[in-house]
């Protein structure tokens, strides 16, 4: 692809992304607006409701404006990362998300790394050693892991590591990077497990497909070393279908993150979402949902770009002008 072609592609993808976010933001805003129960009740709590108090709250939270005005007001603020004030905690939602995002990103990133490492490597080894005990074991384990949701593995891990085998910390997030890794290993592993299984299966299938390809035979026939064939031929090509599903993996990690944070009581964005949902904290729900959606959309963009990098056919073929 020419350089200008690439820029054009990027611009187009960014535009789609922005449009998607506007749609999503509108949905998010209108959904929470439609929810039963008025925020006024929460704001007042068990107090006598004077009409002045209600009016003051209405003004403060723009509850009296027409729907679209409210949406516009909210959206423009949201663009400045101002999602309003949490009804529950009366703290700025943006600050709260900002404070919790590092935990979630750390957890998600850690889980994603685990997923990649323990998803791709066994997948490859299983494919290369197709039919062996290792392969069959990997396939069987992946089926079990695939059906083991994060909250189940999480709780099993909690029990196992708090009581039976107290090697990993089961509470808290630790301080500093190394301690953080140490503390988040269990949650990240629980989160990564089922996603990993999906990746193992995918990688194995892709790798088997690639190993059967003529170009692998041809490369070996030219006397190239096994390692070279495995890496630059098999792996490189198997990566293409793997990259294709990384979007799905990412979605799974993010949604799994919500559950894992809840299971391990981590103060991340996911548990903020659940907490806000449980208390109907409208501004918080809106803010979190929008931020999460934006992260997912951005990550999908990265996936697409990664796809461009690994597959020259896409890069040069389809949209070459």
């Amino acid at each position: 692809m020419s350089k200008s072609g690439f820029v054009w592609y990027l611009v187009r993808r960014l535009a789609t992304m922005a449009l998607l976010l506007v749609v999503v933001s509108f949905l998010i805003f209108s959904l929470t607006y439609l929810s039963p129960g008025s925020p006024v009740d929460v704001l007042l709590g068990p107090n006598t409701r004077t009409s002045e108090a209600v009016a003051a709250l209405n003004a403060q939270y723009h509850l009296d404006d027409p729907f679209f005005a409210q949406y516009w007001y909210w959206l423009t603020n949201a663009l400045h990362l101002d999602f309003g004030t949490s009804i529950l905690s009366s703290l700025p939602v943006g600050d709260q998300i900002g404070a919790r995002l590092p935990v979630s990103l750390f957890l998600g990133g850690y889980a994603y790394v685990l997923t990649l490492v323990f998803g791709i490597i066994p997948g490859i080894v299983a494919a290369v050693k197709r039919g062996t005990a290792f392969d069959r074991g990997t396939v069987a384990a992946s089926i079990v892991a695939l059906s083991a949701p994060a909250f189940v593995t999480g709780i099993f891990a909690l029990y196992l590591f708090a009581v039976v085998l107290p090697v990993f910390p089961v509470a808290g997030m630790g301080t500093g990077f190394v301690d953080g890794i140490w503390h988040l290993t269990l949650p990240a592993a629980a989160l990564a497990l089922s996603v990993m299984a999906l990746l193992v299966r995918h990688t194995r299938a892709a790798m088997i497909g690639v190993l059967d390809q003529d170009y692998v035979t041809f490369a070996r026939a030219r006397g190239l070393s096994s390692r070279r064939v495995l890496v630059t031929y098999a792996l490189r090509n198997a990566l293409i279908p793997v990259v294709t599903i990384s979007g799905v993996l990412l979605g799974a990690v993010i949604i799994g993150g919500v559950i894992v944070e809840q299971t391990f009581s981590l103060n991340g964005v996911g548990s903020l979402l659940i907490q806000s949902v449980q208390t109907k904290d409208v501004p918080a729900i809106q803010g979190v949902a929008l931020v999460v959606a934006a992260i997912i959309v951005a990550a999908n963009l990265l996936t697409d770009l990664a796809y461009l990098v690994v597959d020259p056919r896409i890069r040069l073929g389809r949209h070459a002008q």
Binding site: G131, Y215, F218, R220, A221, G223, R228, T232, R236, P312
Partner: protein, 612 residues
């Protein structure tokens, strides 16, 4: 078991020397199945040998055994000597040293042979060894030189990805890559099959030239006898995993000494003349494992006797430098000769007047896509097919033959022009009134190229045929009986109605496809390369079925093929297509014997065995 007597210097210069090589595959649930039961062959420096056989005969497996790349679960045993060393004992390290440096391999499909995510230059560079680069050239310069050796002078190719190249170019890049480490033997597994006739010829010529220039040994694997005769010194005919005949190429062409080789030669329509009917072998190529312990050709052999079932016959020297595995050869040699004479009878060519047209295409054009990306697949094509006439269309790959056929049956909408079917003129199928469309549909039917996917794999033959019958004749008195009739018409037993396509051979499937087309009693049958996916020995059967049907059913054919010999055999009138246009037309014999258009001449020249 037979050992061929060889002189001393022959053994000395031998590169490969195989004795009794047996290739077996482990079955998923225990047991083994034989792929190649006993292969013996030798290659010397500068010599080219051919391994010939129909699909599934084990050619590719033999080739892979020679380079140590048998798929997992498949094992070779016996004696596989390379310059005196038994490679079956070699470990992976040893093989790595042999592959590329000693033995090179090029594969059939240039479209899948090159790593799609690697630039051509990289593919060459990574294969080059330091010692194969001379004169202080950089790897890149060396790669360019290697490309030039295979006739690619366009330097930009080195920076392109394989998918940016045509098939012929890719195959050349593949050849260059295979030769990077300057091997002594080159194994070419059907190197040209996936290419069109002209390119095929170029690639074969290229391989031969390089082989001679370098003095390499060449093992050419092909299913096409004409290609083998043209390229090789000695041929090994493989059938269902066992060698049935070995001999000098010229001698073998002149007189095959095994019923299978003979059958193969006869079932191929001759290029130069038209024969009444082809001599077809019955049945189809069996799976090697199912014909073990006897003459593998016995089930299909017209001369088969009890002695043929009495153990696997050994390859025996039947003439100087000629080996055959037929135990009955002395008895039947005479008869075989007479059959050959019979097959060479030339058929009479009927009158050259064209009958009244039943299908006409007037200045039809078809453009795929739009704007600069548009492909003009058909451009002002005008053809006509008369009542009970057989019309051929030839042209190389991509010339628009299939597109024309699809336009005719309404699978593609023409961009311009009109079609006349049985007196009704129209531009687009969609615009024809429904009831009229029904009658027109029953007038024109097609037989597709690929028999493996032209039948619904989930439905029985009976279901498929019955649907075809009922679709056009809801009140059909007894569809079941009609299905039986149809099967009989194409030479299949009525019991086949209960079978799923999976349980049929390729030839049988194509017969069912023909029966399905016939179910609506069409006036014109469009056959788009109906035999190109079939084994040579089965192709003759299908061509014979078509010929018989025409005589019985009063049917016209529009026969599409890239094979001039087939076109000559089946059609009276031919159109030559080139890049979406009809460039020449006329009675088949006239066009093929005295081509006027340059393109037609080129097509004729690229036929293997013809002076080129």
């Amino acid at each position: 078991m037979t050992t061929v007597a060889r002189s001393r210097d022959e053994v000395d210069s031998a590169l490969f020397d195989l004795q009794d090589v047996r290739i077996v595959a482990k079955k998923a649930h225990g047991g083994e199945s034989t792929i190649v039961s006993s292969a013996a062959l030798s290659v010397r420096r500068g010599e080219s040998i051919g391994i010939v056989g129909e699909s599934g005969s084990g050619k590719s497996m033999t080739a892979k055994a020679l380079i140590g790349l048998l798929p997992p679960g498949v094992h070779a045993s016996g004696q596989l000597l390379y310059r005196g060393e038994n490679l079956l004992d070699a470990d992976e390290r040893r093989w790595q040293a042999i592959r590329g440096r000693e033995v090179g391999l090029i594969l059939q499909d240039p479209f899948t042979m090159l790593n799609p995510v690697m630039r051509c230059g990289r593919i060459l560079e990574e294969s080059l060894l330091p010692e194969s680069i001379q004169d202080g050239r950089t790897p890149r310069e060396e790669a360019l030189r290697r490309l030039a050796e295979v006739g690619i002078t366009d330097e930009s190719v080195i920076d392109r990805y394989p998918f940016q190249l045509s098939g012929g170019m890719r195959q050349r890049v593949g050849i260059a890559a295979a030769l990077c480490r300057d091997p002594r033997v080159l194994i070419a597994d059907e190197p040209s099959t996936a290419l069109d006739a002209a390119t095929q010829r170029e690639v074969l010529d290229l391989i031969k030239r390089i082989q001679q220039a370098r003095g390499m040994g060449l093992i050419l694997i092909t299913h096409d006898l004409r290609v083998a005769f043209d390229t090789c010194n000695r041929l090994y005919v493989l059938y269902a995993g066992s060698l049935v005949e070995v001999g000098d190429a010229q001698q073998l062409q002149a007189e095959p000494l095994h019923p299978y080789t003979q059958g193969l030669l006869l079932s191929e329509p001759p290029v130069g003349r038209r024969v009444e009917k082809l001599v077809a072998m019955p049945g189809s190529v069996p799976i090697a494992d199912e014909v073990q312990g006897k003459c593998t050709f016995e089930p299909r052999c017209r001369w088969a006797g009890p002695e043929c079932r009495d153990g696997a016959p050994a390859l025996a020297e039947v003439a100087p430098d000629r080996l055959s595995a037929c135990v009955k050869l002395p008895e039947i040699r005479q008869e075989m000769n007479s059959l050959r004479t019979f097959a060479e009878q030339v058929a009479e060519v009927t009158g050259t007047d064209r009958p009244e047209p039943i299908l006409q295409v007037r200045e039809v054009g078809k453009t795929f896509g739009a704007g600069t990306h548009g492909v003009r697949a058909l451009d002002e094509v005008s053809i006509q097919v008369g009542r009970n006439e057989s019309v051929g269309i030839v042209g190389e790959s991509g010339s628009g033959k299939t597109t024309l056929a699809r336009v005719l049956v309404g699978l593609e909408t023409p961009t311009d022009g009109e079609i006349v079917i049985d007196g009704t003129t129209f531009g687009e199928w969609a615009k024809v009134r429904p009831e009229q469309r029904r009658t027109m549909r029953s007038n024109v039917q097609t037989v597709f190229q690929d028999p493996y996917s032209s039948l619904n794999p989930m439905r029985t033959v009976g279901w498929t045929l019955r649907e075809a019958v009922v679709t056009h004749d809801q009140e059909a008195a007894s569809p079941k009986q009609r299905v039986g009739e149809l099967l009989e018409m194409v030479g299949l037993p009525a019991g086949y109605a209960r079978r799923l396509p999976r349980a049929l051979s390729g030839g049988e499937r194509q017969r069912v496809a023909i029966a399905r087309a016939l179910a609506v009693r069409p006036k014109v049958l469009i056959c788009d390369e109906p035999t190109s996916a079939l084994d040579m020995s089965v192709q003759a059967q299908i061509l014979n079925v078509l010929t018989t049907l025409r005589a019985e059913q009063d049917i016209s054919y529009l026969f599409i093929s890239h094979d001039l010999a087939i076109v000559r055999h089946v059609s009276e009138f031919v159109y030559v297509m080139y890049r979406g246009r009809v460039v020449e037309s006329g009675p088949t014999d006239v066009v093929l014997d005295a081509p006027k258009h340059e393109y037609t001449r080129k097509l004729l020249e690229s036929i293997p065995g013809e002076p080129g």
